[in-house]
Symmetry: C2
Subunit: 289 residues, 2 copies
């Protein structure tokens, strides 16, 4: 991402929810197009970093009417109400979201009657939430998944340009394929990390002295916010359950020789991981894989 | 670790197995005590980095007779034969190992009749094996687990000094406590990483585009060497099986609400991880936790 002089795809950006993701979109857009106007809702977690926004407003209808791009960067359960407010305002803005599950969001946008919606999911984040953690380069080299909604082809393309200009790598997919994939690569790892950490309590006396880098990595997610994950796993319960069953079937059976099992499992997982890395291309280093 | 002028605890160090760990011990000892003599067996994976050793010898009996510390940095299954060779040579050297399981090693040292043995397990490593990856700072801030063997108190203390001087944090424990703890924090994560990667093959079409940093971290171990892990899991099969059962009991049950489950699981795992990090003290950053 570089400072550019090209025409911005959107001149007035409204951000509902100025946390880590919403704040990073504001910073990234302003760095890319210094002339763009960015308006956002006030932060609930303290004052916003200086220069992040041109102004704040708590009035979402007013924000929508004065923006040509509205980004919903709030928890998924809050979105339906906001969508109804925006639809009722008569705003013609392109509306998008950054929710980590997509079937419910697309349904809600449809039910609210939003005339120009594109679903989005930037695969970026950080250990800590909040606008104070926001970074203009948060999306560089990271996937930003896009789901076709009510917006027409011209607006869809314009939005894809916007996201790419923030440095992200775009992929279009349908909502169910998205939710099934994230169940395997994001929600299941979350379940597993919590269970690994809780299992390790059996060796709480010696374990902390014996744990190396791998255990630290495998349990990093065990410190994630419980409420956030309750929402995600409830929303995506069917696919999370499928992923968990698939995972259980991959573990050694009750009578199986674990030595022989792990040799076979690693033969396959090493090859599978190699294929994934190849498909992920140039962005792998950034993603720690 | 700093270059020191203090008297080295051992003046002549013999290293059997000059791979990543053996090579790093050689480099670290020479940096700490430039006057120390380090002899090692030839590398099987190509020429050794310049300056790593004073000389190489393939004759383990000769190496033992000319050393006052012998480090066995070879796979666990190879150790019993080497121990018999060293015992038969009549060497009075302190012998130690760096194997990642300890019950079998301690038994083998005992059966070989080694008069001065201390078991060891440096919790350090790297993505790639081989002497070319060796680093003098590999052990800085990392745990080095020690198991009391036939060596008397004076030699044990001298060896602990040696290990600390390489930058490691020492912990004494018994072989069974060690093997049980590593089953939970090292071997189980290995099993889980392979199964996660293999389960994700169900979404091979979309998964690579959706996978973020967490998936990369959670599957890094899925590319580990199958043969090495077959050896480790066979050696430690009973505790690996126990850890796996404990882990399975921590996962959501068949009829359980995954949303409510993850909220409760993360409440506990977040607290557990906080306690572990506190117990690990100042070395956590280095270990990626």
């Amino acid at each position: 991402m570089t400072r550019g002089t090209a025409e911005p795809p959107f001149r007035r950006i409204g951000i509902v929810g100025t946390g880590l993701i919403g704040g990073s979109i504001a910073l990234a857009a302003r760095r890319r197009w210094p002339g763009v106007e960015v308006v956002g809702t006030p932060s609930r977690s303290g004052p916003l970093p200086e220069g992040m926004l041109d102004r704040t407003t708590a009035d979402v209808a007013e924000l929508s009417l004065t923006s040509d791009l509205v980004v919903l960067a709030v928890p998924v359960p809050v979105m339906p109400g906001l969508m109804r407010t925006i639809a009722a305002s008569g705003s013609a803005a392109l509306v998008t979201d950054v929710g980590s599950t997509k079937r419910g969001v697309m349904r809600a946008a449809n039910e609210a009657g939003l005339p120009a919606f594109v679903g989005g999911h930037p695969m970026a984040g950080g250990e800590k939430p909040g606008a104070s953690e926001a970074r203009a380069d948060l999306f560089v080299g990271r996937p930003w998944l896009l789901i076709e909604g009510s917006a027409g082809p011209e607006l869809r393309e314009r939005f894809e340009q916007f996201v790419r200009a923030l440095g992200a790598v775009t992929h279009w997919m349908d909502a169910a394929a998205h939710d099934r994939a994230v169940a395997y690569v994001s929600h299941l790892p979350q379940v597993v990390a919590a269970a690994l950490m809780n299992a390790a309590e059996a060796v709480a006396a010696t374990g902390p002295h014996v744990a190396g880098k791998a255990f630290g990595e495998m349990t990093r997610l065990a410190s994630s916010p419980p409420d956030l994950w309750q929402g995600i796993c409830t929303e995506n319960a069917d696919f999370v359950r499928e992923a968990l069953q698939t995972f259980l079937a991959q573990l050694p059976g009750a009578g199986e020789d674990v030595g022989a099992w792990i040799n076979d499992a690693l033969q396959r997982s090493g090859q599978a991981r190699g294929r994934w890395l190849a498909r992920q291309g140039g962005t792998t280093g950034d993603r720690g894989v």
